[in-house]
Structure formats: C-alpha cells, structure tokens
Amino acid sequence: MQVKGENYNVWYDKNNSAVNFDGALRLTGMQDYAPILQLLNEVASTEPPNMVLDLQRLEFLNSSGISMLSKFVIGMRKKKSVQMKILGSHSIPWQGKSLKNLQRLMPGLTLDLQ
C-alpha cells in the first residue's frame, strides 16, 4: 500500500506495522488527503496489535494534513485493541509543536519524539 506524490511518499511496511511518511504534505484539502486517510484506515481495519505512524522524515504538514491525522486518530479511539504509536523527530520543529495535539485527542496514544 502506497500513496505517492511530487514531494511526498506514504507507504505501509508490513514487517513492523508502520505507515511511513516522507517529504512535505501540502495538499489542498480533505478531499485530496482522502487516499492517505484510506490507506491508514485500511491498515487499521486489519487490527494489528500495534500500529506505528512514522513521521520522522515528514518535513512539512499543512493544517489540512493535521486535520486528516486528527480525524484518523479520533476514529482509532473506538478500536481499543490497536495500540497506536506516533514516531516523530525533535529536529523537525513543527512536530514538537503540533504532534502533542494528537495525544490530547487520544490519551492512550504513545508519542515518541527522537
């Protein structure tokens, strides 16, 4: 499973149940983010015991992208069997500022900034 664009690449790695995000996501709105949201939901529907969103190489995310990730995380509150983890990087400043909001939406989520 993969969604790829000019400046970004989002793909699922079955070996570690991680959805990897690379590049810069500046899509125009929720409609354009639908394929990525669908990929996330498809992975979640297989109910892996752990699901990782690896954002360590995601340099940029606009507010529509933040909205998309929030929507996914809110949906995951119902799937109590899946332990959610978000991997981020301290060297990408937006992640230190904005990723904590996802944890507020889903207190059971593990946020790991490296």
Partner: protein, 211 residues
C-alpha cells in the same frame, strides 16, 4: 514633482479608505520604513491547482529570506535551534495564509493577492491581502468573532472533533487555531472595500510572531 522616463507603467489602487475598514483582533499596521518584502499573485491568471505548489515555494523562500535578519549568535548555544524554529514557523504560517487567500479570493475581482512581511527586532509580522466574496466575508467574520470570544485551545480541540464527524467540511479555521495554539502567534484582520470599476471587498490577515 514626478518625472517619468521610458515605458514606466504604474497602476495605483484607490485604497486607504480607513473610515470604512473593520478591524478585528490584534491588527497592527505600520508604515513601510524598515526591512520588508512583498510578494504578489494574480489569482485569476492561472488555475488554483496549478498555482498550489507556489504556496510552499513562496513560504519557504520568505522563511529563508527572513532568517538573514536574525543571524546566528555563536555565544548562544540554542541560537541554531531558535533559527530553525523561526524558519519552520514562518514557513508554516506563510503557507497557510497563502493557501487561504488562494481558496477564498474572488477570482472575478482582478484584485491581486499580496503577502507582505515586516521585520522588527523581536517580532515578524506577515500580512496577506486578498479579495473576498461578501457571503464568504460574513462567514469569516462570524468565525473571527467565535475565535475572539473563545478559549483558543478549547476551540481548537472542539473543531478537530467536529471535523472528524463531518465528511464535507473544508473551512474550519484550523490553520489560524494552530498558529495561535502551537506557535503563540497574535492574529488580526482588516476588512475593507476598494473602489474599482465596481466595489471589491478585501481582507488583510495579519499574523505576528515573536522571535
């Protein structure tokens, strides 16, 4: 006295009709005397989809340009981190402001979108000026009132929850709320009417960032 040489062309807009302007929030307007940078776009010239990648390019350019005015201080160990943080904040905010202006500009109005920056010793102000349809302006002003009368943190979480419920939502003000909550920015707005062939409604959004 003005002297013109060569094929000089100037098309001044009849603006500055401040009596009619409506101001919201922490709007600050200063004369352009210090360092500043203005980038202009013509929203009707090419379709929004084609123009979209320009938002990111312009935002990153503005962030890099502004970084020049806040040099790294070798005696302050965290100054490299601070600079990276400032560039990231400007890049995010400028991109959001441009995205909004591209989405909401009235493309029939032949009124340019301009992004203007002002630099002071410890703050940066970004201004985006664009035309707006009257109906959109009303919705926008309602949102601004809601924002000014709410706890922005609580409103942010509420909007994220509402967005998750609603399939078709497109304009939720989340960009503004992230600027306030995640970047501690101050926001202000000026709505105005510019007399052209027919009156054009305009809005200038100001974002002030402490650096």
């Amino acid at each position: 006295m003005i002297q013109i040489f060569g094929n000089f062309l100037e098309n001044l807009l009849a603006k500055d009709n401040l009596e009619k302007a409506q101001i919201f929030g922490d709007y600050v307007e200063r004369p352009q005397q210090d360092e500043h940078l203005t980038v202009g776009f013509s929203p009707s010239a090419i379709p929004i989809k084609k123009r979209w990648r320009n938002n990111g390019l312009s935002a990153d350019y503005i962030a890099n340009y502004l970084a020049t005015f806040y040099p790294i201080n070798a005696h302050e160990p965290d100054s490299i981190d601070k600079l990276a943080e400032m560039k990231s904040a400007v890049s995010y905010i400028a991109n959001e402001l441009l995205e909004n202006s591209m989405k909401y500009a009235d493309t029939t109005a032949l009124y340019p979108i301009t992004l203007h920056t002002q630099i002071e010793s410890n703050k940066i102000r970004l201004f985006v000026d664009n035309s707006i349809l009257a109906a959109q302006a009303e919705n926008f002003q309602n949102f601004i009132q809601e924002l000014l009368n709410s706890d922005p943190d609580e409103l942010f979480i509420r909007k994220l929850e509402e967005n998750a419920e609603d399939e078709n939502t497109s304009s939720s003000g989340l960009g503004f709320l992230t600027m306030i909550n995640d970047y501690s920015a101050k926001l202000g707005w000026k709505f105005d009417t510019v007399e052209k062939d027919s009156p054009v409604m305009t809005v200038t959004t100001m974002v002030e960032l402490a650096v």
